[in-house]
């Protein structure tokens, strides 16, 4: 059993105390800032009535669907372009042109096409995720041990068998890292879409709290988003540890 590491908790406690002290030890009344006490109370209230769970579910659903779509397409294209050079040549142009486009700038266009709601958010997230997925998968395929590809040549493996038996297992470690990286992007974009326009999820709830001049609620949502991001990363790190020797 590993000894419990208490040092980070000290830092967190110190930060909370500093936060409390900065706001006048709770005596300062403000419409824009809230001390830790009321934030904790707001968080508890939101957990009790279930509103935070619903909002979290909505944000997480959009982020994960977008991640699955974007990373799925990106991995497939990255694999194809890494294995069949003509595919690589064909997609290089579009990738370089579209990649610098900020995904969030697509919100107006996507809203016209799909309307507000889940679909629009999923597509914007997928758009943000697809480019790094392609590029990271291509890099991973390029790093597959050349000897193993020669072994595949000598054994006359079909393209499909080559992908399934050699390339995919070889790039798995890099794919998991890619997924950790793109999961953070997916959450970021999902929340941003909700902040900007989509009337659901954590981003939207935060926006409402801000407009209602309810700083405690707003900051409570910030904590929830942080927790979700942390959980997502933890899940992927755990997966990485189980998948990789």
């Amino acid at each position: 059993m590993k000894r419990f590491n208490w040092r980070p908790l000290v830092v967190v406690a110190a930060l909370i105390l500093a936060w409390q002290w900065a706001l006048g030890g709770g005596k300062l009344v403000s419409d824009t800032l809230a001390p830790p006490g009321p934030v904790a109370a707001a968080l508890f209230e939101m957990l009790r009535d279930g509103s935070v769970l619903q909002a979290s579910f909505q944000t997480l659903l959009a982020a994960l669907l977008g991640l699955a779509l974007g990373a799925g397409i990106g991995t497939a294209l990255g694999l194809a372009s890494g294995i069949l050079p003509p595919v690589g040549t064909a997609i290089r142009g579009p990738v370089e042109v579209l990649r610098p486009l900020p995904a969030i700038a697509l919100v107006p266009l996507m809203t016209i096409i799909f309307g507000l709601g889940l679909d629009m958010e999923v597509y914007v997230v997928a758009f943000a995720v697809v480019w790094p997925s392609i590029i990271l998968t291509q890099t991973a395929v390029r790093h597959v041990e050349r000897r193993l590809l020669e072994v595949a040549d000598v054994l006359e493996l079909s393209y499909l068998a080559r992908i399934r038996k050699i390339v995919l297992p070889a790039i798995l470690p890099r794919l998991v890292v890619m997924l950790r990286f793109t999961a953070a992007i997916a959450l970021l974009i999902a929340v941003t879409v909700e902040l900007v326009s989509n009337p659901w999820g954590l981003g939207h709830e935060m926006m409402v709290a801000s407009q209602d001049m309810a700083p405690a609620r707003m900051i409570a949502f910030l904590f929830v988003i942080t927790a979700i991001g942390w959980c997502l990363n933890w899940a992927l790190v755990t997966a990485e540890r189980h998948l990789l020797p």
Binding site: E145, R147, L148, E150, V151, D153, V154, L155, E156, L157, A161, K165, I166, P169, A170, L172, P245
Partner: protein, 277 residues
């Protein structure tokens, strides 16, 4: 070069004791005036020799003489720039399953995510062997190379010698006509190397496979080969082709002390070491 001429003046015909294939069967590998270049200066120039089926041919020479290129041409990874390389009479254009390659860097040529059993299985899966038949064939391959008690270990859990045995097992599972070996024992310690040399000869005899073995070690070439092809560099070309008339089965002590072994060793040493010798 004076030494080379002296050797060349001796007829390289096999003595009666040599296991010369009778009535000269069609060669399994033929190099006919082969040249190769990557675009710059020639790597190989006017290389000609043949390999009789069921025999071991060793290619030796200093680094940069194109020994590995010779092997990669037979493997089908490269195509001759001039002349022609044939296997069983067919010009080589691409790799095929009937020509197996044992790489020197065994650590990179094995699938680290598959255990010993799974690594051998890859060759059978590639050949579309039915699942039901695989087990028996994998087990017989592992028994052949002495890994039957390590089937569930991963390559990272094996010693270098065992990893190379595993690669040989996978190559034999391809059921190849030809086994190409690129300095396969070069990275192993002397003792393991000797053991694997003897096992290779035993397996070669048992399976009747033809072997093209690249090495920079003259003694290893003489110990293993029915024939030794010596290359020299700039550009890579055949300086000498020697039939090795030493009797089989070979023995680490008796063969290496055989007068003919010592004579050939001396001759090839002078040849490959040029003036320094």
């Amino acid at each position: 070069m004076a030494n080379a001429l002296k050797l060349g003046s001796k007829p390289a015909t096999p003595l009666p004791a040599a296991p010369a294939p009778n009535a000269a069967p069609d060669p399994i590998i033929t190099f006919a005036d082969v040249g190769f270049a990557y675009g710059g200066p020639a790597v190989l120039s006017h290389v000609s020799f043949t390999v009789a089926p069921g025999t071991v041919t060793c290619v030796i020479g200093p680094s940069g003489c194109g020994k590995t290129t010779v092997l990669r041409l037979v493997a089908g990874f490269l195509r001759a720039s001039s002349g022609v390389v044939t296997v069983a009479g067919v010009p080589r254009t691409r790799p095929t399953r009937d020509v197996a390659v044992v790489f020197q860097d065994y650590g990179r040529a094995l699938l680290p995510w598959r255990d010993v059993y799974g690594n051998v299985s890859l060759a059978l899966e590639a050949a579309h062997v039915r699942r039901a038949e695989r087990r028996a064939r994998i087990e017989s391959m592992l028994a052949l190379v002495g890994l039957e008690n390590h089937a569930r270990k991963f390559p990272s859990e094996l010693s270098g010698g065992m990893q190379q045995r595993l690669q040989i097992a996978r190559c034999l599972a391809q059921d190849p006509k030809i086994l190409l070996m690129d300095e396969p024992f070069g990275a192993l310690d002397a003792m393991t190397r000797g053991i694997l040399q003897d096992e290779l000869l035993r397996i070669q005899e048992e399976r009747g496979v033809s072997v093209l073995f690249v090495t920079h070690d003259i003694e290893e070439a003489l110990y293993l080969g029915n024939q030794v092809v010596a290359l020299i560099a700039n550009p890579g070309r055949v300086s000498q082709r020697v039939e090795v008339p030493l009797p089989f089965p070979r023995n680490q002590l008796a063969t290496r002390e055989h007068p003919e072994f010592l004579r050939l060793r001396r001759a090839l040493f002078h040849l490959t070491h040029g003036h320094e010798g």
